[in-house]
Amino acid sequence: MDLSLVQNLIDPAILFFFFGLFAAGIRSNLDIPAPIAKFFSLYLLVAIGFKGGVALAASGLTVTAVAAIGAAMLMALLVPAYSFLILRGRTNPYDAAAIAATYGSISAVTFIAAQQFLTRNGVDFGGHMTVAMVLMESPAIIMAVLLASLVRKREQAQLSPSVGAAAVANSTSSKGISLKEVLHEAFTDGAHLLLIGSLVIGYITGDAGKEVMAPFTAEIFKGILAFFLLEMGLLVARQLRESRDLGPFLMGFALVMPMVNASVAIALAWVLGLAAGDTLLLACLAASGSYIVVPAICRYAIPEARPGVYFSMSLAFTFPFNIVIGIPLYYSVIALIWGN
């Protein structure tokens, strides 16, 4: 178990991630064509969703499963709430709301990397954790939108205490997006929807579906993940260059918060009596930040926030941290406590 950090790094997919970092670091012109990268991202969602659905059909929705899902949803509410409180005074409040949503939500690739870690170490995990992942997206976004509209109202009130209601109404028409619209946007977001769809299809077709799909969704999975992580490495290194103006506080937040969120998740899992495998996945869901769904929605729901900020934090700092250090670190803590 001591070796798990190094072992984790010897996986071909992880090594391709490092190679991507290196290639972009020395300013190579290496590039995965964008439509391929986008397709691989869809592929991973289909594969992970389908696999989760099949597993869920086999195991059914047990009490532990429900507990794990409940814990995940609780984390999706807690993380943005305390993140916003921490960020509020130190950065502009719209950015704070968007960052809160980013960290309340999840990174599917971090989740996948954690699953790969567990498989490599022979630790079981349940298909219901994919359901948990799916359900963590929306609460975080709702929280953030509510926070942003709170900020908006307060600002409006400060600017024009006398004009009052009229100004607020006016601002609503130009900036305020109704929660209903945002929820529609969040639910119909392609990445999110594809994950749900694949989960449902995996659940319906079960083992019969698994058998015909396996060569595509399971056997070549590792190779495609390797290519995808190569691209992620290139992106992370290039985004790092763009993010010099983040400032030490936000950089620190992006590196320390994952550990805080993972700790809270592990504590919660301990209380609920979850298994070690599910606990690692829960920790990684809590620790990771979104760089696909949340930016897609915040751009529209909180246009005042600077996408460069929350996108850089989650992609250039939190993602590599979790992939390289976070996963084995969280698991070594879990192994210690769970007495594995």
């Binding site: 760089y291 930016p295 996408p307 460069g308």
Partner: protein
């Protein structure tokens, strides 16, 4: 050939369907869209998130009459105000066929 106005827009790719709907309402039905136009403007660099494509711009070109051009400008201004982008208007000759 007849003189027309050429309106060129660079806007958030996600905003294009909405924008085209607005234009339809004021009777502008014809247009050309080039989907991938990366760039940099007031809102910083627009590229690099290949997965969600959130930072993609599109380039929209519309050949129209001067009156229509003025209407288009009025229609797109609030969209540009909210989500960024640029709009240029210039002169051209349309080849009748």
């Amino acid at each position: 050939m007849k003189p027309v106005k050429k309106v060129e827009l660079v806007v958030d790719a996600h905003e294009v369907p909405h924008l085209l709907e607005q234009l339809k309402r004021i009777g502008v039905n014809d247009y050309t869209v080039i989907s991938e136009a990366h760039g940099r403007g007031d809102r910083g660099s627009r590229a690099g998130d290949v997965f969600s494509g959130v930072f993609d711009n599109s380039y929209v070109m519309i050949a129209c009459t001067e009156t229509q051009a003025r209407q288009i400008v009025e229609t797109v201004r609030p969209i540009l105000k909210r989500l960024g982008g640029i709009c240029l208007v210039s002169d051209a000759m349309w080849v009748l066929h």
